[in-house]
C-alpha cells in the first residue's frame, strides 16, 4: 500500500467516533487521503516508518494529524509529545479530539504544542461542522515540513 500521498493521519480507537469523523471528512472531500489507525502505537509506527509501515518513505508526511486523547497502548498525548519533539514532524498541525472537556489534559495538550482541540459534541451535526471547519482550516494553512 502506498502511504506517501496520505494527507490526514487519524488515530481513534472508538469505531463509532471513527465512523462519524471519517464521514465528516469524506463529506468535506478528504476521505481518499486519510489513514485511520486505532491506537497511538500504530500512529507512531506510521509517523516514524516502523513496523507495518517500515516501507513508508520518511520524506512524505501528512498535512494534518487528528489524535483522539484516550487510546489504548499509547495515548494521544504521548503521540503529540513525540511529534512535537521531533524536528521533522513538529511543524505538522496536530488537532486533539476528546470526549469531554473534563480532566487536566487540555492544558497539557496546549503546553505540548497541540494546534487545536475539539470536544466531540453529543450532537453529530455540531461534530460534523467542527471536524469540517478544523480540517479545512489546518489543511489550507498547513505547510508540510519538507
Amino acid at each position: 500500500m502506498n502511504y506517501d500521498d496520505i494527507e490526514i493521519l487519524f488515530a481513534e480507537d472508538s469505531a463509532d467516533d471513527a465512523v462519524f469523523t471519517i464521514r465528516a471528512l469524506t463529506k468535506s472531500g478528504f476521505s481518499n487521503k486519510l489513514h485511520h489507525v486505532v491506537d497511538g502505537a500504530a500512529a507512531l509506527d506510521f509517523l516514524f516508518c516502523r513496523g507495518i509501515y517500515a516501507d513508508r518513505h520518511n520524506t512524505h508526511f501528512p498535512k494534518l494529524i487528528l489524535l483522539d486523547l484516550k487510546m489504548p497502548k499509547v495515548s494521544g498525548i504521548q503521540v503529540l509529545e513525540a511529534v512535537k519533539s521531533d524536528p521533522k514532524l513538529k511543524s505538522i498541525p496536530v488537532v486533539m479530539l476528546t470526549s469531554s472537556n473534563e480532566g487536566p489534559d487540555i492544558e497539557r495538550c496546549f503546553e505540548l504544542g497541540a494546534n487545536s482541540y475539539i470536544v466531540k459534541p453529543v450532537d453529530s451535526d455540531n461534530f460534523f461542522h467542527a471536524i469540517k471547519e478544523i480540517g479545512m482550516y489546518w489543511m489550507i494553512l498547513s505547510q508540510p515540513a519538507h
Partner: protein, 395 residues
C-alpha cells in the same frame, strides 16, 4: 663647919634650881594649858556654829514633818477612797462570781453538748473517711474516664485524619467519576445521535413522515441528554473549583457578552438597555457564567413578546453592590418562587421554553461562593428581574 655649909648650900642650890625648873615647867604647862584653853574656846565657837546649823536643820525637819502630816492626811483620804473602791470591787466580784458560776454551768452544758458534738464529729469524720474513700474510687474512675476520653480523642483524631484522607480520595474519585461520566456516558449518546442522523441523511427518503419524526425525536432526546450531562457536570464542578478573585470590569464583561450573542434567523432580538455597572472583585470565568445564564434566561423568556427590552443595571445597598437583569418576558407566579433555584426545577414546560433547569442553580452556587445573594421578583406575563449582590469592591 664650912664643909657642912657648902653641902647644905649645894643642897639649897640644888633645891632652888629644882624650884626654878619647876617654875619653868609650870610656865610651860601654863602655856600649854592656855593653848588648850584657846583651842577649847575655838571648839566651843565651832560647836555653837554647828548648833546654829543644827537648829536650822531641825526647823527644816519640822516643816518637812508638817508637810508629811499634810501628805498623810491626803494619803489617808486616798486610802479611804481605795477601801470604798475595794468594797465596790468586792461587790462586783460577788456578781462576777455569780456570773462565773452561771458561766461554769453553761460551760458544763457546753461541755456536754461538746461531747455530743464530738461524737457527731467523730461520726462525721468516719463519714468523711468513707466519702474520701469513695472520692478516691470516684477519682480513680474519673482518671479512667479521662484516660478513655484521651484515648477516644486520639482515636477521633486518627479517625479525622483517616476520614480526611478518605474524603480526599472520594473527592479525587469524584473528579475521575465526573471525568468518566463526561467521557464514557457521552460516547454512547453521541453514537445514538450520530447513527440516527446517518439514517435520516442517508435513508430518510425511504421512510415515511412517522419514521422521520421518530428519528428526529431520537436526535433531539440524545442532544438533550448530552446537555443534561454537561450541565450536571458543570454544576458539580462548581463546588470543587477554586475561586480566584480579581478586579473585573462588569461593564466590559457584559458588553462583550451582549456583543457575542448569536441570534437565529427570525428570532426575537431584544433591545438591551445597559446601565453603569460598578467593577467587582470576582472570579471572572464564574461571574461570566452568571451573566450568561441570567441574560440568556431573559432572552429566552422574552421570546414570545413582540418588542422586548432587557435592562441591565446595578445599585449599592448596605456594603453590597446589587446587579440586576430585568426583562419584560413571560414572568412566573411568585408562589413557586422556592423552586426557582433548585437543580432540575422548572417553572415552564419544555414545549413553552426549552431548558435543563440547572442554569439558576449554577447562578446561585456561583454567587454563594462569592459571599453574595441571588433573588428574583416576577409578575406573571409582565416580566422578571433577577438580582445578585456581591461585596462592594473598593478601588
Amino acid at each position: 663647919m664650912k664643909k657642912i655649909d657648902a653641902d647644905e648650900l649645894s643642897i639649897a642650890n640644888r633645891e632652888i634650881a629644882f624650884q626654878h625648873q619647876e617654875k619653868e615647867d609650870r610656865a610651860a604647862e601654863l602655856i600649854i594649858a592656855n593653848k588648850e584653853l584657846i583651842f577649847q574656846n575655838e571648839e566651843k565657837e565651832r560647836r555653837a556654829a554647828e548648833l546654829v546649823i543644827a537648829n536650822k536643820e531641825l526647823a527644816f525637819q519640822n516643816t518637812e514633818k508638817e508637810n508629811r502630816a499634810a501628805e498623810l492626811i491626803i494619803a489617808n483620804k486616798e486610802l479611804v477612797f481605795q477601801n470604798e473602791e475595794k468594797e465596790r470591787r468586792a461587790a462586783e466580784l460577788v456578781i462576777a462570781n455569780k456570773e462565773l458560776a452561771f458561766q461554769n454551768t453553761e460551760k458544763e452544758h457546753r461541755a456536754a453538748e461538746l461531747a455530743i458534738a464530738n461524737k457527731e464529729l467523730a461520726f462525721q469524720n468516719e463519714e468523711k473517711e468513707k466519702r474520701a474513700q469513695e472520692l478516691i474510687v470516684a477519682n480513680r474512675e474519673l482518671k479512667n474516664a479521662e484516660d478513655s476520653i484521651r484515648k477516644l480523642n486520639e482515636e477521633l483524631e486518627q479517625k479525622v485524619i483517616e476520614r480526611t484522607a478518605e474524603l480526599e480520595a472520594v473527592n479525587k474519585e469524584l473528579g475521575s467519576f465526573s471525568y468518566s461520566v463526561s467521557h464514557d456516558l457521552r460516547a454512547p449518546i453521541r453514537a445514538i445521535n450520530g447513527y440516527t442522523r446517518i439514517i435520516v441523511e442517508d435513508y430518510g427518503e425511504k421512510l415515511d413522515d412517522e419514521g422521520n419524526k421518530a428519528l428526529r425525536s431520537i436526535i433531539n432526546n440524545s442532544k438533550k441528554m448530552g446537555e443534561l450531562i454537561d450541565d450536571l457536570l458543570a454544576f458539580s464542578k462548581l463546588g470543587r473549583k477554586q475561586v480566584t478573585l480579581a478586579e473585573v470590569s462588569m461593564s466590559d464583561l457584559v458588553q462583550s457578552l451582549i456583543h457575542d450573542l448569536m441570534f437565529e434567523d427570525g428570532e426575537n432580538i431584544p433591545v438591551f438597555k445597559l446601565l453603569a455597572l460598578p467593577p467587582a472583585k470576582v472570579d471572572k470565568s464564574l461571574i461570566r457564567q452568571v451573566w450568561i445564564n441570567l441574560i440568556s434566561n431573559a432572552i429566552k423568556y422574552s421570546k414570545y413578546k413582540s418588542i422586548t427590552t432587557i435592562e441591565i443595571g446595578a445599585y449599592e445597598e448596605g456594603g453590597m453592590v446589587v446587579y440586576y437583569v430585568k426583562d419584560s418576558g413571560a414572568g412566573f407566579d411568585m408562589q413557586y418562587y422556592d423552586k426557582l433555584f433548585g437543580v432540575f426545577q422548572r417553572l415552564h414546560s419544555q414545549e413553552e421554553f426549552e431548558g435543563t433547569g440547572i442554569g439558576l442553580a449554577i447562578v446561585q452556587k456561583i454567587v454563594d461562593r462569592h459571599k453574595g445573594t441571588v433573588w428574583a421578583e416576577s409578575i406573571l406575563d409582565k416580566g422578571t428581574t433577577f438580582y445578585f449582590s456581591l461585596p462592594k469592591f473598593y478601588y
